[in-house]
């Protein structure tokens, strides 16, 4: 290939003529329409990234100063929008559940865009893609400019095939009933990384800084700190610091993917993204594409300097439509008029399909599909119920849940009590990053149904307040509370307490108390130095009525035995399961 010798010549050229001063080569200006479209792309990218971040910060409940008491609490915006227009999420859950859940039909809009323009979603809309675009531009070192950068943007077939095989593996898993592929969904990665790790980390940092101001004795600084705290708590985060179980892993993964842009621009998009791969496969039928006039190419490689998809826009080789993000940088840069995007182009110098190999494809599908029985024949699902696997209220039965949950993190982000957390191994290896309730960190608010509102795939049902709390029907139960009598104050230490009873939200309360008179030893020795005297104290000792307990975890959250609580919730008795039960008369609702 002639282009192989080029970096050196380009380097020499670049030395005496820094790019940008004088147009290189023939210096033909790009078409006006391309210059406008390139700006339109930048505006769209900024807008969609902005919208994504706005929706992310709105994925929480902040009290409204104008809503009346009887208005059900709902969010003002469709914050899960970027999952709804996500064909990968739609396809995975279509394969697992054989349905397209509610708003997921919007994914068709993205499919339509792809069938007209190719992977324009990646280059114009995807917020995670835009982040990589931005960091792929600012992060590369001095060394990674010029020729090195051109080299980094050449198609790397082996590397770039990985994402297709990943896609096929995840689709294979989906075909046999697992939405495990959601772990690699780019929007989910962005929500989990930013929402559950980066944002709380930022809140922690800013909060510490503002506390310094508040602790100063300067009135003005205290005022500034108060106003800043108020504004931030109503816009970016919430009034209290949120903590996510093992959230740091999500943050590290997110930052690592961003930093990879320093070495290979848009590493995630080119190498790993299964949504990109799906759109790449779809783009084979795209109506808009590139034509090249190879004869005019002088191998100046300017097209490669800012190529996003590493899709071979340069002359002498065929263009990879499945890899191209349609950013239009190549045509804009070409000084010879070689590259031309147009409607229904000649496909003479275009490769429309991924260059994957059939055997490896089949092997990927098989490997993905095989992962599911492998994970499920381990003990976590049917035989050795994990007590900590407490699912959000309205979560569907566990198999159905694993089929629907794409690990998008929306429920964890929206939960106003910081009760929902990403599972690491609590739900088995297959359930990584699916939501679990950790009552010790936050309990499930009795009449809150926001997690089901934002769930894009129906893994958590859209409950009404009446369905959840059980007005004229059985309530939704997430588990059952148990006492650890060895640690409970009235039971073990003859000390009054029953905060658990106070917080129990059901009526009648699932926690009831029994009045007892019990002996208690005085703490001080007798006056003669002998054994301390005994006295009798009156106490209320709490009990759980498992037929009334809904497993919300309020009791566990407020138990004053601070480290390991004296009352704790486990998943048994959850109304979504027919098998994880205690009582004979407990029917699943």
């Amino acid at each position: 290939m002639p282009s192989e010798q080029l970096p050196s010549t380009h380097k020499e050229k670049g030395r005496d003529k820094p790019p940008g001063r004088k147009p290189p080569g023939s210096g033909l200006p790009p078409r006006r329409s391309i210059r406008i479209l390139r700006w339109a792309r930048r505006v769209t990218q900024t807008a969609t990234l902005g919208l994504f971040l706005f929706f992310l910060t709105q994925t929480t409940f902040r009290g409204s100063f104008s809503a009346s008491a009887d208005v059900p609490v709902r969010l003002a915006f469709p914050v899960e929008l970027f999952f709804l227009i996500n064909p990968y999420a739609a396809l995975v859950t279509l394969l697992t559940s054989h349905t397209v859940y509610r708003g997921l039909l919007w994914a068709l809009a993205t499919v339509a865009v792809t069938l007209i323009f190719g992977r324009a979603f990646c280059g114009w809309v995807c917020p995670f893609g835009t982040l990589h675009h931005f960091f792929g531009w600012v992060l590369p070192s001095r060394k990674n400019k010029g020729a090195a950068r051109v080299a980094a943007n050449r198609t790397h077939p082996v590397r770039q095939r990985v994402k297709y095989y990943l896609l096929y593996a995840f689709l294979g898993a989906a075909a046999v009933g697992s939405a495990f592929g959601g772990t690699f969904d780019p929007i989910a990665l962005a929500v989990r990384g930013l929402g559950l790790s980066v944002l709380p980390g930022l809140q922690y940092t800013v909060g510490a800084a503002l506390r310094l101001l508040a602790d100063s004795n300067v009135r003005v600084l205290q005022g500034v700190a108060d106003v800043a705290q108020f504004v931030l708590s109503r816009t970016l985060w919430q009034a209290s610091q949120f903590h996510y179980h093992d959230g740091w892993i999500l943050g590290v993964a997110f930052v690592a993917l961003v930093v990879l842009n320093r070495f290979i621009p848009r590493f995630w998009c080119r190498v790993l993204c299964p949504l990109g791969a799906l759109l790449g496969v779809t783009a084979r039928h795209a109506l808009v594409g590139m034509e090249k006039d190879h004869a005019r190419c002088t191998n100046c490689n300017l097209c490669l300097v800012h190529c996003q998809g590493a899709d071979s826009p340069q002359g002498g080789v065929t263009w990879r439509q499945d890899e191209c993000h349609v950013c239009l940088n190549c045509e804009n840069a070409c000084p010879e008029g070689v590259i031309r995007f147009r409607f229904l182009p000649s496909r003479e110098s275009t490769t429309t399909r991924p260059d994957t190999q059939r055997r490896t494809t089949l092997a990927s599908v098989a490997a993905g599909a095989a992962m599911v029985p492998l994970a499920r024949s381990a003990d976590s699902l049917d035989v050795n119920y994990e007590p900590r696997l407490i699912r959000p209220p309205g979560a569907v039965e566990e198999r159905e849940f694993l089929a629907r949950c794409i690990r998008c993190g929306e429920c964890m982000k929206v939960c106003p009590n910081n009760a929902l957390h990403p599972a690491l191994l609590e739900a088995g290896i297959e359930g990584i990053w699916t939501p679990i309730l950790i009552p010790r960190i936050g309990y499930c608010e009795h009449s809150c149904v926001l997690c089901g509102q934002v769930c894009p795939t129906g893994a958590i049902r859209r409950l009404t307040e009446k369905e959840k709390t059980g007005v004229d029907q059985p309530p939704v139960r997430m588990g059952t509370a148990f006492y650890d009598y060895g640690r409970c104050l009235p039971w073990a230490m003859q000390t009054p307490c029953i905060v658990c009873e106070e917080f129990c939200p059901t009526s009648p309360k699932a926690i009831w108390t029994e009045q007892v008179e019990v002996p208690l030893r005085e703490s001080k020795p007798a006056p003669d130095g002998g054994a301390p005297a005994m006295k009798t104290v009156k106490l209320q000792r709490p009990h759980v009525d498992p037929s009334l307990c809904i497993g919300c975890g309020a009791c566990e959250k407020v138990c004053p035995v601070q480290d390991r609580p004296a009352i704790y919730v486990t998943s048994v008795g959850e109304s979504r399961s027919r098998t994880n039960v205690i009582l004979l008369d407990r029917k699943p609702s």
């Binding site: 104008s66 809503a67 609490v73 009034a239 009795h446 009449s447 009054p496 009648p508 209320q540 407020v558």
Partner: protein
């Protein structure tokens, strides 16, 4: 044999070493806690935040208003019988109103103070010339939900109150010097007000039997307040010792007489259409407990409060007016 270094070089090396040492010593001396003072905490007498106004001889101390089902009208009636808000509020005062906004419940469920009672007080305070009226509480349930679904966020804000949703930065560790409560994070907007009006609702409480005026001060506290149940009576009395409000207005328009303090079931509530205004928080509680079939003598914190001289359980001994 290497050359000896120059004088200049020698001086500069010694100077660098000395400079570093001097800097380290300066920092060390500046931050030196020579006598371990930083470890020692001062301790002094019991703290009191007294927001009371001097009593007026020709005005009642205790008013029970009934006769309408309009919560706002009842509140106005009770205030008027007390001599009007102007008796308590001076022009330019910052007034803090402390309702019970503990739970994520709607007004009819009788777990939080009625929003119309709160709004009526806000209006009256502003009409009496208050510079600013702050409404706040530190909820038990998630605060944003509790404030919104109690109706207080909307109705108090609509009449011009500054509704402060509790946040980490509103809590400041404060010394109470109580028998039980030594040092706790407390809601600053209330401590910094000129006048404080306590607006509790009358409710049953599983452990304390009654939650009304004195128990409502739990809502001042942040931190791990769940520990306080171990001696709920003393902790309530400590808070009532610390907080002496300008006025207590008890919302008994509807009460929660069982399954408290959270309720959730309309069958646990009872419509009473009563508002009580009192200068004495102990008397207010003693009267209120009868509304939910409790006896004042069974309520431990009332007895402690009376013993400490915070007020009287014999509300009938005050200057009472029924309107």
């Amino acid at each position: 044999m290497p050359d000896r270094i120059s004088r200049r070089e020698a001086l500069s090396r010694v100077g660098a070493a000395a400079g570093t040492l001097a800097a380290a010593a300066a920092v060390g001396l500046w931050r030196w806690d020579r006598h371990a003072h930083a470890q020692v905490r001062d301790s002094s007498t019991r703290q009191v935040r007294d927001f009371r106004v001097s009593s007026a001889p020709d005005q009642p101390d205790f008013v029970v208003a009934t006769g309408t089902s309009d919560a706002a009208a009842l509140t106005d009636k009770a205030l008027a019988a007390m001599g009007g808000m102007a008796r308590f509020i001076s022009r330019g005062d910052v007034v803090a109103i402390k309702p019970n906004i503990g739970w994520d419940r709607t007004p009819s469920q009788a777990a939080n103070t009625h929003p119309d009672v709160v709004a009526a007080l806000v209006k009256a305070a502003l009409d009496a010339g208050a510079k600013r009226v702050v409404v706040t509480d530190n909820s038990c349930n998630e605060p944003q939900r509790s404030f919104q679904r109690s109706g207080i966020l909307e109705k108090a804000a609509a009449v011009g109150a500054q509704v402060v949703l509790p946040a980490d930065n509103h809590l400041r560790t404060t010394r109470l010097h109580g028998e039980l409560l030594d040092e706790w994070p407390i809601l600053v907007p209330i401590l910094e007000a000129d006048k404080v009006i306590n607006v509790p609702i009358v409710k049953h409480h599983g452990l304390a039997r009654l939650t009304c005026a004195m128990k409502n001060w739990y809502g001042l506290l942040g931190g791990r307040r769940n520990r306080l149940h171990q001696d709920i009576d003393t902790s309530i009395a400590d808070l009532a010792t610390f907080m002496r409000p300008t006025l207590t207005v008890v919302d008994a328009t509807r009460v929660l007489y069982r399954n408290g303090p959270q309720g959730g079931n309309l069958a646990d509530t009872r419509q009473l259409d009563t508002v009580v205004a009192s200068l004495d928080q102990v008397a207010a509680d003693a009267y209120s407990c009868t509304l939910i079939n409790q006896k004042p003598d069974d309520i431990g914190y009332l007895k402690i409060a009376q013993r400490r001289g915070l007020g009287t359980m014999d509300w009938a001994s005050l200057k009472v007016r029924q309107v």
